[in-house]
Symmetry: C2
Subunit: 572 residues, 2 copies
């Protein structure tokens, strides 16, 4: 018995889904079926749209919506995170495939599969190294600035598609824009703007209308989430009815029937080496965005996300995407919110959605070929515009100037320098300001009041002219030792008669090698001036470390005191 | 009067040298003259040797030893730092000039001048941005590992020169090494090993002999520092006497007479763009090494180094090097120690040394052409071997495992991946571990003893079953908010009956935007579970920031308490 229950625990540790199933009931199942259907309806057009956004054939988005979410559902700790093709990863793939070095390799499909595989490998390695805490290195303002910037880039790439145009390359030349706009296709424009209008209507307006009509919440959710599917169906029907493919209205084009065989035939050493740094960026963003989204929904239901398990789940999902012919995947904001607000209770909802997509790919593939690209552009625009959060930048700026600058710089960096450059800039900026804060030491000159060492500026205390008591209130490391030295030198200049310096180390948990060498130099310069360096109240682990060196010997006649009052009695 | 004295202060602020001259006397001057002569004697062979090490014509090392040290002497805050060509910068230049992209540009002399100019510009910009604190980002172990690695690379490049060989490219092929060694030139080998033996003798052995003979200290210093010059003179004489240039003994070769005209004709936009990242690395290392060396000598005499002024001084010195045809310059360890131990009191010593070098270039240039390269290799080896500090690595490892790993990884990185890659690796490693430490929050669950909130694990205190008091002992930022959340969630699981959470914020100096958003989510999930979030003892600046947002409103019915005892009275 014990063995079996132990085995069960260990299996459910690796597959969090199973742990939830013990209490799974009919109610949960019917909720999950409902949410699964709604999500699947959204996923078909979104999957195709994001593949096209990434510059890939449409089926790569569909394939990425089938096996990868099932892999995530089995391994991930979030019950509602919907993993699959997402807009931000798609625009990153598009920008990578468009660089001269990568496009010189040819074969974007192969390059994209290599990206998926590498993202999977990188995330898995991060999991093995237990680097889930990496999410700490990207502050929220940097992530928000990055998201806004990437969303703006997506909007810039999709808006022209509404009129059957490619993105302009006119700079500030007005004449150029004039002739550019003349290239618009009016049929496409009618379809594109019609789709956009329909999608806008399916947002708030329809909800208000239905609420007034007294429609219940489940039906209301179901109806309002069908907007994208209805849009696609209407647009495709219109194309077929009016033979608009004869009028240069761009369509999705050939979509193969069924799933491809699982394969690792895409592997290529040269391309793999070239794409590795890009994959690292996608992996980082995929992980950070997914965990951020997973946390939001988990918090709302009092559930818990385990970052390291998310790394494994997302890693495997991407490896599965690679071998099953899909584009890189991550947890998406809009798809997760649809799943969540449609009432998904467990990962079962995602498995149901993926299964439905599987049947869709098998039975409806030929239908997808007739979808006009303008309809997909409209769907992307509606899904993405919310990610440009101008008010967030303003609020961050108001709340914390430094964070506001980081958010704005990241946003502008993404727009001007590029996606990867922008996020790098943001990360450097926040880490730099963090290190700058670290280098400001918490330190105070103290005197003695009664038996206690207290800060001089705050209390009326006993001080001595030839004794300098300094309390250091954090570990002494390479980051702050230079400021500590400066502080001590300034204090010594203020009190030139000082004969003994006592460092009170109550709060010092560590002295690193850089700090030790600097303290050694400081001690020598004190001795040359006929002064002594002393230590009081050092923790035993710090003293043990110091005893491995000859620092304490060199410090003589300076001493180590257990209590600061011993020091003041003997030296004072 | 007041105006004039004010003017004087402001001039001497910019030229620290002048500040020292007010008390300058005959004694100081004679000390400086002596030190200047000794240093000049060392600088001639070293300047030529480092230029050849960098793969440049010999005169570029000599030019770099004349005007740049004078510029530093006028602007720098160290009285004894000797600025000029240094071995580490030389090997960095050599490795940059050898990369395919840079060597494809042709003209190494021009590229090196561009490097000098860019190093100067980068350091000047860093000075304007007051980035002197940048020295904090490179820990001592990383710097030591880097120095050891670079020194080993120099040794590997110079040892074969003792036998007139180029560095081998045999890998592990023993046959290859056999035929490689047969290419050795026996005349060169005799000269090289003879020079090495002489230099070794001029180290400790000679000092011991002279001390026994009762020679006074000044004379002893003078004699022992003449080793390099004597070596060069003897080797050059031997070459001339035995006509060894007929025997393929490699000589320095043509050295133009006099100084070149000042010029900025080397500027080239394409090369400048390509070399910019490399220049940034040289600038970083030049600055960090120079300040480290300057601090050592300044500490020994109780003087003070001002990092930001060092940036300006080193920046101008490199700009001067560029326009006067010199290689990049920095403060060198061996040349500074010679200057210091020869008794230099002020920057005047460096000005005297530079003036002597100026005359040497004008009058003795033709003599330099006959110096055998093997003699210079011996001088470099003797100057450099001390920089490989195996015992330092072992001591660091023993003292602090993390620092030991950083030092070793940097060393191996320099040897295996390359100079710039190695130092980058080391910096990433230390910053990463620093951030990891930052992410561990200082936090404690507290109860109340008397009127004071005290840590539960340490004291016997009053606690409440539905009240969770948590004291947060540092600012709440993106780096630690995730760990704080985890901590709170764990505590809530331990005490499921908790109805109110109180965050005691006595030590919280700031809550950044990331932390604010996370606290918002945390508050919402508490409210959904019917619990409240409260704050006590928050500093007024933190409260003011929070009042700009709607966080405090959302927190209701959670409250803000001035004192923790108010919270325990009302909620307890």
């Amino acid at each position: 018995m014990t063995d079996i229950s132990h085995k069960q625990t260990s299996i459910s540790q690796h597959f969090p889904l199973l742990a939830g199933l013990t209490t799974y009931d009919r109610n949960d199942f019917s909720s999950d079926v409902f949410a699964g259907i709604i999500t699947a309806i959204l996923l078909v057009p979104q999957g195709i749209a994001y593949a096209i956004l990434a510059g890939l054939p449409p089926q790569m988005g569909l394939y990425a919506s089938i096996l990868p979410p099932i892999a995530y559902a089995l391994l991930g700790t979030s019950r509602t995170l919907s993993v699959g093709p997402v807009s931000i990863a798609a625009i990153m793939v598009a920008s990578i495939l468009a660089t001269p070095a990568v496009s010189a390799l040819g074969n974007p499909v192969q390059n994209s599969l290599i990206l998926s595989a590498e993202v999977g490998i990188i995330l898995s390695i991060m999991a093995m190294l237990r680097m889930g805490g990496l999410v700490n290195f990207i502050s929220h303002p940097v992530l928000a600035g990055f998201t806004s910037g990437a969303a703006l880039l997506i909007i810039a790439s999709q808006l022209p598609q509404l009129a059957g145009l490619k993105p302009p390359s006119c700079g500030l030349n007005a004449d150029c824009y004039r002739s550019y706009l003349q290239g618009a296709n009016s049929y496409t424009l009618i379809i594109g703007s019609g789709c956009l209008a329909l999608l806008v209507f399916f947002g708030k307006p329809l909800t208000i209308v239905l609420k007034h009509a007294g429609v219940n919440l489940a039906l209301l959710t179901a109806i309002s989430k069908c907007g994208p599917l209805l849009t696609v169906v209407l647009a495709t029907t219109a194309v077929a009815y009016f033979n608009l493919d004869q009028q240069q209205v761009a369509l999705v084009g050939q979509v193969p029937i069924g799933l491809p065989e699982l394969s690792i035939g895409f592997i290529d050493a040269k391309a793999a080496r070239l794409l590795l740094p890009n994959s690292a960026f996608i992996a980082l963003i995929a992980y950070v965005e997914s965990v951020a989204i997973a946390k939001v929904t988990a918090n709302l239901r009092g559930q818990k996300i385990i970052p390291n398990k998310e790394l494994i789940a997302l890693g495997v999902a991407n490896l599965v995407a690679a071998v099953s012919g899909g584009m890189p995947v991550a947890g998406g904001f809009s798809r997760t919110m649809v799943n969540f607000s449609a009432g998904a209770r467990t990962q079962m909802a995602m498995i149901i959605a993926a299964t439905l997509l599987f049947f869709a790919v098998i039975f409806f593939s030929p239908w997808f070929e007739q979808i006009p690209k303008a309809a997909l552009a409209a769907i992307i625009l509606m899904a993405i515009y919310r990610l440009v959060r101008v008010s967030h930048i303003i609020n961050t700026w108001r709340y914390d100037r430094g964070d506001g600058i980081a958010e704005l710089v990241t946003l502008l960096g993404v727009l001007i320098l590029g996606i990867e450059e922008g996020i790098t800039l943001g990360i450097i900026l926040t880490i730099g300001s963090q290190l700058r804060k670290n280098s400001q030491p918490h330190i105070a000159v103290v005197g003695v009041a009664g038996n206690q060492a207290v800060q001089i500026s705050k209390h009326s205390v006993e001080t001595w002219h030839h004794l300098l008591l300094v309390r250091i209130e954090e570990s002494i490391t390479f980051a702050n030792i230079h400021s500590i030295e400066d502080y001590l030198e300034t204090e010594l200049k203020k009190k030139p008669n000082t004969r003994h310096v006592v460092l009170i180390c109550t709060s010092v948990n560590d002295i690193d090698a850089t700090a030790l060498e600097a303290l050694g130099h400081f001690n020598r310069s004190l001795q040359q001036a006929g002064k002594s360096l002393n230590i009081s109240e050092a923790k035993s682990k710090v003293l043990e470390k110091l005893q491995k060196t000859d620092f304490l010997k060199q410090m003589q006649p300076g001493q180590v005191f257990a209590r600061t009052e011993d020091a003041t009695k003997e030296l004072g």
